[in-house]
C-alpha cells in the first residue's frame, strides 16, 4: 500500500506557481528521497504533505494528498501533523525546555500516554529510537540548548517519533551539520526506514543515493523522474536527471 499519494498538487505563493502539478506515490516503509536543486519547490512539497504550508496565509493549494487513502485536507489538521512527523533543516528543539520535556511535551498535550510512568517509558523509547539516549540519559533535565547540533537534530527526531507517527518527513536534516553528525543521522535513517515511511528532501544526489530506496527528481516545480534509486542513478530516463545526478546542474 502507498503511504502517501499526491494528485496534481499545485501551490502558489501570491500568484507565483511554485509547484506545477505534482503526482507522486510514496510506498509504505522505506526511504523516499525528493531531490532537486535549490528553489525547485522540494521543501514546499514536503510542507504541503503535513499541511504546514497553510500557516502562510498567502499560499494557495490545489490538488489532493492522501495519507493511507484518506485525504489530509479532510482530516483534522492537528491529527495530520501528529501522524506525519517532521524534522527541519535547522535543528529546532525548544530551547527553554529540558531534553525530557522536548520529547514529552507534545506527547503529553496530544494525550499519547495515560500517566507519568508511561510518559517516562515513551521518552526513553523515543530517545533510544533516535540513537540519543546513551548520550543524554544522565542529563535529561538539562536544557536542550546545551546539546551539539547533531544531538539537537536527533532530539528533534525523537520528539517526532514520540507521537508514534506513520510517516516521518525530513527537510534537509543534515544541511547544517558537520560530516560526522550527518553520518549519524544517515545511519539513523537506515534504522528508521525499517519501521517508518521516511520522506527526505535533499539537494545532494549523493545523499539520496546513500539513504533512499526510491527517489524523485524535481526541477522547477515539476517531477522530472521518479523510481527505484538504482534505476534513477544508473539508468536515468531523462537527460535533466542525468545532468543532475552527475553534478552538471544543481
Amino acid at each position: 500500500m502507498n503511504a502517501i499519494e499526491i494528485d496534481d498538487l499545485r501551490v502558489k505563493y501570491s500568484n507565483v506557481e511554485v509547484l506545477k502539478g505534482i503526482n507522486l506515490e510514496i510506498p509504505e516503509r522505506g526511504c523516499f528521497a525528493i531531490m532537486g536543486p535549490s528553489g525547485c519547490g522540494k521543501s514546499t512539497l514536503l510542507k504541503a504533505i503535513n499541511r504546514l504550508l497553510e500557516l502562510n496565509p498567502d499560499v494557495k493549494i490545489s490538488g489532493d494528498i492522501r495519507l493511507f487513502g484518506e485525504s489530509v485536507f479532510r482530516m483534522d489538521v492537528t491529527k495530520v501533523r501528529r501522524e506525519i512527523g517532521m524534522v527541519f533543516q535547522f535543528p529546532n528543539p525548544f530551547p527553554h525546555m529540558s531534553i525530557y520535556d522536548n520529547v514529552a511535551y507534545a506527547a503529553r498535550c496530544n494525550k499519547i500516554v495515560k500517566n507519568k510512568k508511561e510518559l517516562d517509558e515513551l521518552v526513553e523509547w523515543a530517545l533510544k529510537k533516535a540513537a540519543l539516549y546513551d548520550e543524554v540519559k544522565d542529563r535529561l533535565r538539562k536544557k536542550a540548548s546545551q546539546l551539539s547540533g547533531g544531538q539537537m537534530q536527533r532530539l528533534c527526531i525523537a520528539r517526532a517519533l514520540a507521537l508514534k507517527p506513520k510517516v516521518l518527513l525530513m527537510d534537509e536534516p543534515t544541511a547544517n551539520l558537520d560530516p560526522i553528525a550527518s553520518g549519524k543521522i544517515e545511519e539513523l535513517i537506515h534504522e528508521l526506514k525499517r519501521d517508518y515511511t521516511v520522506v527526505i528532501v535533499t539537494h545532494s544526489p549523493a545523499q539520496a543515493a546513500r539513504v533512499a530506496d526510491f527517489v524523485a527528481f524535481i526541477y522547477m516545480g515539476k517531477v522530472v523522474e521518479v523510481g527505484d534509486v538504482s534505476e534513477v542513478f544508473e539508468r536515468p530516463k531523462h537527460e535533466l536527471t542525468e545532468k543532475y545526478v552527475t553534478g552538471r546542474i544543481g
Partner: protein, 275 residues
C-alpha cells in the same frame, strides 16, 4: 593639516553635544540626591513609616504616599498588564487583521498622549459616578497609560521569536493556543517582562493623571475606594506650600521616587544589554 583641524573640531563638537545632553540628567540626579538624601538620613525610618506632620513641625514622613504609589501601581498592573499582553500577542499573531492595523497606530498615539487627558477621562467615567476620588480610579488611569508600553514591547518580543520554533511546534500537532502560550510567549518572556517593568516604572512616576482621579491623602491610608496619596502627587502639592519642612519632605519624597524608578529601570537596562 586642514583635514586634521576639521576632524578635531568635529570630534570636539560630538563630545560637547554628548556632555550637553547628559548635563540635565546628571543635574537632576545630583540635586535630588543632594537635597533628598540628607532628609532621609536625618529622619531615618520615621520618614518611610509615619505621616505628614503639621506645618513647621519636626519629624513626620511620607508613608501614605509610598503606600498609595505601591497600591496604585499594583492595581494598575493587575488591570493593565493582562490586557496589554493579550493585545500584544494578538497584534503579533494576527498582524494583518483589521484590529491589529487599527491598534498599532493607536498604541503609538497613546504612547505620546497627554496623560492629564487620561485623568480627565477617568474622572468622568469613574470618579463622578463613584462620587469620590479613589485609589481604584487612579489605578484605572495608570493602567490606561501603561497599556501601550506593555503592548508594544510584547508585540515586538513575540515577533523576534524565530519562525522555526513555531513551525516545529505546529509540526508536532500542537494547537495555536499552545504554540502561542507555551512556546512563543515563553521564548519571548524576557522582552515581555521588560515591557511590564518599563510600564510599571513609567506609571510609578506619573502625576498628572492622578490629580483628578486619586485625590490626596496625607495622614491616613484607606481602602481602594477612598482617596489616596502618591509620591509624585505629594511632591506636586508639598512644593506649593509655604512651609520649609514641607519643602524638605518634597525633596525626600523625590529621592525615594528616584530610587524606586532606578530600582526598576537598572535591572531592565542590564537585562536588555545582556540579551
Amino acid at each position: 593639516m586642514l583635514r586634521e583641524i576639521k576632524n578635531g573640531v568635529f570630534l570636539f563638537y560630538l563630545l560637547a553635544s554628548s556632555v550637553l545632553i547628559l548635563l540635565p540628567l546628571a543635574h537632576i540626579l545630583f540635586s535630588v540626591s543632594a537635597n533628598g538624601l540628607p532628609v532621609l538620613m536625618s529622619r531615618g525610618m520615621e520618614f518611610l513609616t509615619s505621616t505628614l506632620p503639621g506645618p513647621n513641625k519636626p519629624g513626620g514622613g511620607i508613608f501614605p504616599a509610598i503606600f498609595g504609589t505601591f497600591t496604585m501601581v499594583f492595581l494598575s498592573s493587575l488591570i493593565g498588564i493582562p490586557l496589554a499582553i493579550l493585545a500584544g500577542v494578538f497584534i503579533a499573531e494576527y498582524p494583518k487583521s483589521i484590529i491589529s492595523n487599527l491598534a498599532r497606530p493607536l498604541m503609538l498615539i497613546m504612547l505620546e498622549f497627554p496623560t492629564i487627558l487620561v485623568g480627565l477621562f477617568v474622572m468622568v467615567v469613574v470618579v463622578i459616578p463613584m462620587g469620590t476620588f479613589s485609589a481604584i480610579a487612579g489605578a484605572i488611569a495608570l493602567a490606561i497609560i501603561m497599556l501601550p508600553y506593555v503592548t508594544t514591547y510584547t508585540e515586538q518580543a513575540m515577533r523576534t521569536v524565530p519562525e522555526s520554533y513555531k513551525e516545529g511546534a505546529y509540526a508536532l500537532g500542537l494547537k495555536k493556543a499552545r504554540v502561542v502560550f507555551a512556546i512563543t510567549m515563553r521564548l519571548a518572556r524576557k522582552g515581555i517582562l521588560t515591557g511590564m517593568l518599563i510600564g510599571m516604572a513609567k506609571v510609578a512616576g506619573e502625576t498628572a493623571p492622578l490629580i483628578f482621579t486619586a485625590g490626596i491623602a496625607w495622614r491616613s491610608i484607606g481602602g481602594i475606594n477612598e482617596p489616596t496619596g502618591a509620591i509624585p502627587l505629594w511632591i506636586y502639592y508639598l512644593v506649593q506650600q509655604p512651609y520649609a519642612n514641607y519643602h524638605e519632605m518634597a525633596w525626600g519624597a523625590a529621592f525615594i521616587l528616584m530610587l524606586i524608578f532606578l530600582a526598576v529601570f537598572l535591572p531592565v537596562r542590564l537585562m536588555m544589554v545582556r540579551s
